[in-house]
Amino acid sequence: MQHSTEVSGAVAQVCLLAGKIMLENGGETYRVEDTMARIAASFGIQSSHSFVTPTGILFSIEGAEPATRLVRISQRSTDLSKVALVNEISRRIGQGEMTVTEAYGQLAAASRAKPVYSVHWQVAAAAIASGCFLLMYQGRLADVPAAVVAGGTGYYVAATVGRLLSIKFFAELLASFVIGLLSFLSVRSGFGRDLDLIMIGSVMPLVPGLLITNAVRDLMAGHLVSGISKGAEALLTAFAIGAGVALVLTLN
């Protein structure tokens, strides 16, 4: 395979798009680097380097026709289906089933793909999860409705505010405050009984579980910069949730 500068530039673009989709949707840093190196290798480029942090990817191809590209990651969310999709595309590229242009087209389609579950489904799931977690924390069956209402509303608030404002931790703070308030009111009105358990169950959908897991996995793989910054993000999110709940507790 003959490489011109154009080809390595195109390959770099494909690699970066794959990496960008993965990173934006909750892939681990080592998976992003691994995928990009694999895609480059399957297009015949043996030596490539990447530097991946939660806010940007730097990717360069060595050799006679070097190419270096940078992409900024400005918004991150959780959509593991897209991570799985890119994984699948990279596997097919590895089997030599695609040209560079085809690969780019498929990846671009993957990045435009709609989420598997709409916001309504997610709010319903958050409500159900809240009820289930109340039971798992040894709550009473009678408190489940209160947790379902508070948890669903809280998640809805977090999703809506998160979309309207770009200030990340404020959405969580407001949502947990709403959850706290609803739980407090439900206990006051006799709709629910155990305030603590209702609140714990309802804030669980906001807990940054993915971030914590990925932070740990990144640190394990030696990606110290990503691991620590993801850990900091998780810590700040947890703090925002705690502050929202604490505001309500001071009312008590």
Binding site: L80, V83, W121, A129
Partner: protein
């Protein structure tokens, strides 16, 4: 007793699968995510009932979740994160972190620090469980490579 276990079984299965929806996992893996979370939580619950130390119970459950997740990731050709992230959610010490926060608000800093340290220990136990499973996987992989090569 049996009813208690059945309730926990159902709650952890449905709860974890619902978290799968929040994380937008692929549709065909939703049930498996629920099963991973259920297995982890059941082990945790049983060990807690046997009054095993909570950190050890959490470690063992996280280890089990990660092992199952690795197996399912190979079986269904999906990134392992999908199953791990959903599976460990029931083990996250949310209740304890909440208690710590409440004590801090009530100016009971001594209890708050104690609880926070405990919650931190449990998160560490989850992490170590995941690391252990990774180690087992790597040993298995290199053993297989040696056999083939």
């Amino acid at each position: 007793m049996a009813i208690r276990y059945l309730e926990q079984l159902l709650a952890s299965f449905i709860g974890t699968a619902a978290f799968g929806v929040l994380f937008q996992v692929p549709r065909q893996t939703l049930v498996q995510c629920g099963l991973a979370g259920m297995a982890g939580w059941l082990l945790n619950y049983a060990l807690m009932r046997l009054s095993v130390d909570l950190a050890i119970a959490t470690w063992a459950s996280a280890f089990l979740v990660a092992l199952l997740a690795h197996g399912m990731a190979i079986r269904f050709k999906v990134p392992v994160t999908v199953f791990i992230v959903s599976g460990i959610i029931p083990l996250v010490p949310g209740g304890m972190a909440y208690d710590a926060m409440r004590k801090a608000v009530q100016n009971d800093y001594e209890a708050a620090v104690q609880l926070a340290a405990k919650a931190f220990m449990l998160s560490g136990a989850i992490a170590v469980g995941l690391v252990f499973s990774e180690v087992v996987q790597q040993i298995a992989r290199s053993a297989r490579a040696r056999q083939n090569g």
